[in-house]
């Protein structure tokens, strides 16, 4: 699946994304609010679902090679987070869905494809 399909499934709003983000391929999904857990996630081409909004999320996502971040639970992105996403060229979206629902919906999407 690609990032566009995931963003549509979660009805997520774009906060920052470089050009041609729609085509980014996503193989795995990782959902967590603990930096240490995100760090040791072994996924490849993964999208990160989190309700953390500190700029360190972008750093962490980049270190583990995540492709994009989706903020869940209606989290507002503080300016620092958007700036960090821009700086690291990390696609950043925001969804009103809960983390659990997001995972379920992406699971259904995966099955359907």
């Amino acid at each position: 699946m690609n990032l566009k399909q995931i963003v549509e499934t979660l009805d997520a709003t774009l906060l920052y994304a470089p050009e041609e983000w729609e085509k980014l391929e996503i193989k795995e999904v990782f959902a967590s609010d603990l930096i240490s857990d995100i760090l040791v996630s072994e996924g490849h081409e993964q999208v990160l679902l989190t309700s953390l909004t500190s700029p360190q999320v972008v750093r962490t996502a980049e270190l583990v090679g995540a492709v994009a971040i989706v903020l869940v639970h209606r989290r507002q992105a503080p300016p620092g987070l958007e700036a960090a996403a821009r700086q690291h060229d990390m696609p950043l979206f925001r969804s009103t869905a809960s983390k659990f629902d997001s995972c379920v919906w992406i699971g259904q999407l995966k099955k359907a494809l």
Binding site: L34, I35, D37, V40, L63
Partner: protein, 306 residues
Amino acid sequence: MNDVPQPLDDFSLRIRELACGLKVRDVMTSKVFAITRNCTMHEVQQIMKKNGISGVPVVDDRHVVGIISMHDIMNAFIDGHIDDPVTQHMIPDVQTLSDDVPLSFAMSAFSNYSFRRFPVVDQKNELVGIITPRNINLALIRELSRQLNEIEEGESTSGRAEEMATFHRIYPLSRYDFDHAGRASAELKKNLKARGIPAKVIRRAAIASYELEINIVAHSHGGTFTVLVDDRRVRITANDFGPGIPDVDAAMSEGFSTANDWIRSQGFGAGMGLPNVKRVSDQFDIQSGLEMGTMVKAIVYLENEE
């Protein structure tokens, strides 16, 4: 008053780095004068005068039980106590340093306490030396000169292939500076990528590096973070100025955390930091001294495990 380089000066970063590589035993004066409880203040004064020293530990079966300084001798003269036994005027409960700790701990100790000297003890808690700011300054000058010589020699033979160039960076980190924490890890990752290192190895080095960077800003008074990459390995050294870890074994167990609510709200403080670092490193070493600092060294070899 302090004769020891202050930790947070940017220009002393190299000095801090040097101080992490040396141990107290490399720097201390091993020929140490000590007296027993039976000596009088007058006898101590004679020993100081004869040997040009300004502080003498009092020992009981090689264990330090007190210390007499020039200051105590002067007071004894003024108050007419110069023939008293030392036990009546010595400072008991002496702060000692272990000979095995990094020199940076001694530097922090001189900053945090007002003492002019520390008796040095070995693992059996027996007196093996004494360390003063003078020892530290001389050792640092010696090391800096040695490094300068190496650089000069290196320059004269320059022109070697650049591809295997050593990557060596020192980063200052202050308490709660979450804006800068992670920068070193990002640069490390970039460097390893450029070297064509396997992704799995890069991931391990990045995890170790990032967790240690966060540890400094989240838990310490600040410190320095050093990354060294050569053609064989990544060496990460996190060195802070205190407060030190009271129970290192507890800190190494999964789930143990002393993080406050704010740090937790940032997604940290799961108590997985140090255990994670140890798990992804090929070599791991931690030393901590209360009021002196903590030094963590992690090494990741660049060769693929397969």
